[in-house]
């Protein structure tokens, strides 16, 4: 069973994503801030991440930057619904440049989320 880390500070979104992934057979961990996300990632037990672009600013992309610099980067999917300072087009370009398996624009359907996670896991 693959372990997926969901990083989103919006409780409703994190819960919804968790439920969809759990129902499809994944083991899901949720982090609501960057520090918790880093702690969970440091265990080495995460197979893929689903990250929100906006977590108190730009930090979702900052976390993606850190992940992409690991010797063995954890594959990740970005979720984005717009936010301060950076257009979605710019955030998407950065996520692509960092190697995101997929960028999901909120709101998205369950099947789109599952397809993106499968892509991240190389299935």
């Amino acid at each position: 069973m693959a372990t997926i880390l969901v990083v989103d500070d919006e409780q409703d979104v994190a819960d919804a994503v968790k439920l969809v992934l759990q129902n499809d057979g994944y083991f899901v961990l949720v982090a609501k801030d960057m520090a918790s996300a880093r702690d969970i990632l440091s265990t080495g037990e995460v197979d893929a991440c689903v990250l929100d672009v906006w977590i108190d600013g730009d930090t979702g992309l900052d976390l993606a930057t850190e992940i992409s610099r690991d010797a063995e980067p954890v594959p990740f999917v970005m979720m984005s619904g717009g936010g301060p300072g950076r257009s979605l087009e710019s955030a998407t370009a950065k996520a692509d440049a960092l190697g995101a398996a997929e960028v999901l624009f909120k709101p998205f359907d369950d099947d789109e989320l599952l397809a993106a996670v499968k892509k991240a896991l190389g299935k």
Partner: protein, 144 residues
């Protein structure tokens, strides 16, 4: 480095960026698409069903819905996009690429530069991405 020399070097790098952009855009045919129309085609090629609409494009581009609506209309008139009624909400329209739209994307001017970048060392590409992101951020901050 003194101020004048630093300004000259900055202008040289700015010129390099500008020339790369111009080279990419010069490849367009006379009847080809504007940069915002290419962005819209790229958006509809990758977005999901629930965001394949005027609001979604407007949020993606960071412009008004009126402006995005005009961009979509121009692409529909050229046969590159089409609107179909949503299956879940009869009042809304889902925008999709037509076959001609998918064919047009194969000639996206971005592909040329992406192909050149693919040939770079991964470390150089990573560094270039970081530097361009810094430039992008500084320009966004300057506009605020």
């Amino acid at each position: 480095m003194d101020e004048a020399a630093a300004a000259k070097r900055a202008a040289g790098v700015a010129q390099m960026l500008f020339q790369i952009g111009r080279r990419v855009l010069e490849k367009r045919n006379a009847d080809d698409l504007h940069a915002v129309q290419w962005s819209a085609l790229r958006y509809f090629a990758r977005t999901g069903r629930r965001t394949a609409n005027v609001n979604g494009l407007s949020q993606f581009l960071g412009n008004t819905t009126g402006s995005s609506s005009r961009t979509i209309k121009s692409l529909v008139e050229r046969g590159l996009l089409e609107g179909t009624p949503s299956r879940t909400d009869a009042r809304s329209t889902v925008i999709k690429l037509t076959q001609a739209g998918r064919r047009a994307l194969r000639k996206d001017p971005l592909n040329d530069i992406a192909m050149v970048l693919e040939g770079m060392e991964p470390g150089d590409l990573d560094q270039l991405g970081q530097l361009l992101d810094k430039v992008d951020e500084a320009m966004r901050n300057a506009r605020r």
